[in-house]
């Protein structure tokens, strides 16, 4: 947790270089991506959320921290690919936040876990209208589509997204994620096929099972 709090300070200062050095030290200490994403980066961003709740910082500060963190994640996956070339497993996944949802860091970390498992990915980022992703998915035919939301009020958007994406001709697996999933049940917004992942560990476990060839009952 100490490292996470240290990182949160660097992110709030917008210090890309010092943030990267902190992350690099974790890589050198042989920490895996799941640990770095969950216990360093997510923990740092949660701490920043806590600082806002306790009136220590403003939303403008949060924006700076978010964009610094965005850079950090991009550099992390680039470095990973350079250190250890990843061989493709021939599967494709798309990532997006539902309409109006601006919190995209969790989604980005999930997409990077997929990359490390050899998936080909398309990361569409925050606030993606349904008609756009539907069209993109029809053309690209992904095996999985990952949706993310962080604001309770945006959960209302889930139902049409899940329904229409699961009904696409190639029946992609629809995976829903976001910080609220560990607090509330959202099953009612999906079908029996929809996957709800509470955290990155769930994502990682799912990827692990898929890598080892255990077929999930989704998308079939």
């Amino acid at each position: 947790m100490e490292k996470a709090i240290e990182l949160s300070q660097l992110l709030l200062e917008g210090d890309q270089d010092a943030s990267w050095e902190l992350l690099e030290a974790e890589i050198k200490a042989s920490k895996d991506s799941l640990y770095i994403y969950e216990h360093i980066i997510t923990a740092a961003m949660r701490h920043i959320g806590h600082l806002w709740e306790t009136n220590k910082i403003t939303v403008a500060d949060e924006h700076l921290a978010t964009s610094t963190c965005d850079y950090l994640l991009a550099r992390y996956i680039w470095q990973k690919g350079k250190d250890q070339p990843i061989s493709s497993i021939g599967k494709k996944a798309m990532f997006l936040c539902v309409e109006n949802e601006q919190h995209y860091l969790g989604l980005k970390m999930a997409s990077q876990l997929f990359i490390e498992y050899g998936w080909e990915t398309k990361y569409h980022g925050p606030n993606l209208p349904l008609e756009y992703i539907k069209k993109a998915a029809e053309e690209w035919k992904p095996d999985a589509i990952c949706l993310s939301f962080s604001i309770l009020y945006h959960a209302e958007n889930l139902r049409p997204y899940i329904k229409e994406l699961e009904e696409l001709p190639n029946h992609p697996a629809v995976i829903v994620g976001g910080r609220l999933l560990s607090q509330y049940e959202f099953d009612r917004y999906g079908s029996e096929k929809t996957l709800f992942h509470k955290n990155l560990e769930d994502v990682n476990d799912w990827l692990d099972r898929h890598r080892h060839g255990v077929k999930s009952n989704v998308g079939s």
């Binding site: 306790t54 009136n55 403003t58 939303v59 980022g125 309770l152």
Partner: protein, 248 residues
């Protein structure tokens, strides 16, 4: 108190339990007025609201997410001043320009990501082209039944050799050649690694019983070849015609 009705900003008067006692006209234009002030605040901002309002000793302020008629998730700056068990609150919505700026920054971010990807694609294309160029820079040409010419083009680096040595070795073996003439006329710069790789190739050909021959060495090439760990024991000739005269 009547005058406060016409304040040009959303104003609320609350009691110690946060019940709304009075509000300005602008407040009712912006919010669906409820009994309690906390009902106007987003669930996840309620703890923060209590903290800000909890300071009964004077003034406090902070950012909150509030539910307006327009949006269930709007960012406000809230200021409160307590006096005699009554809280006077002003809520000012964060400038709309902030949201506009956010969306512009987001567009730039997306574009930057796309540009990155485009650059990556171009880089991969260039690498692929470079590979093809290197493969074409070491053709294996049959001159006679027993002689083959391998003109080298471009820079002699380790990639040029590693990419082509397998093909040169296979072709040399297949055709029943006796001599392989390496033509350096088209070679620009050399690197030490490239020269070492080339010398290793020449030696392999010798082991296979062939007679490699090097032609068209220029002074800058000679410098590198002489500095290599082992200078190949092969004839060095300055032109192809001399190589031919020697052969026949």
């Amino acid at each position: 108190m009547l005058d406060l009705k016409f304040l040009p900003q959303p104003y609320f008067l609350i009691d110690l339990d946060y019940n709304i006692l009075d509000f300005s006209q602008v407040s009712s234009e912006l919010f669906y007025i409820r009994k309690n002030f906390l009902d106007l605040v987003d669930r996840e901002s309620q703890g923060k609201t209590k903290n800000i309002l909890g300071n009964l000793e004077g003034r406090s302020e902070g950012e909150l997410i509030m539910k307006t008629k327009e949006s269930p998730y709007a960012l406000f700056d809230l200021s409160v001043n307590w006096n005699d068990g009554r809280g006077h609150i002003i809520c000012i919505e964060k400038d709309h320009r902030l949201i506009e700026l956010e969306s512009i920054v987001e567009k730039h971010r997306t574009r930057l990501a796309a540009t990155n990807l485009e650059l990556l694609e171009k880089k991969e294309l260039v690498e692929k082209t470079l590979f093809e160029i290197k493969s074409l820079s070491c053709p294996f040409i049959k001159l006679t039944q027993s002689t083959a010419l391998v003109p080298l083009f471009g820079n002699l680096d380790s990639e040029l050799i590693s990419q082509n040595e397998k093909r040169v070795l296979e072709k040399s073996q297949d055709g029943g050649y006796q001599e392989v003439l390496f033509d350096f006329n088209g070679v620009g710069n050399l690197t030490s690694e490239g020269v070492e790789a080339f010398v290793a190739l020449v030696k392999e050909l010798q082991v296979m019983g062939l007679h490699p021959c090097i032609i068209g060495i220029k002074p800058n090439h000679a410098f590198y070849l002489n500095n290599s760990k082992t200078v190949p024991d092969v004839p060095f000739l300055n032109t192809l015609s001399k190589a031919f005269i020697k052969s026949f």
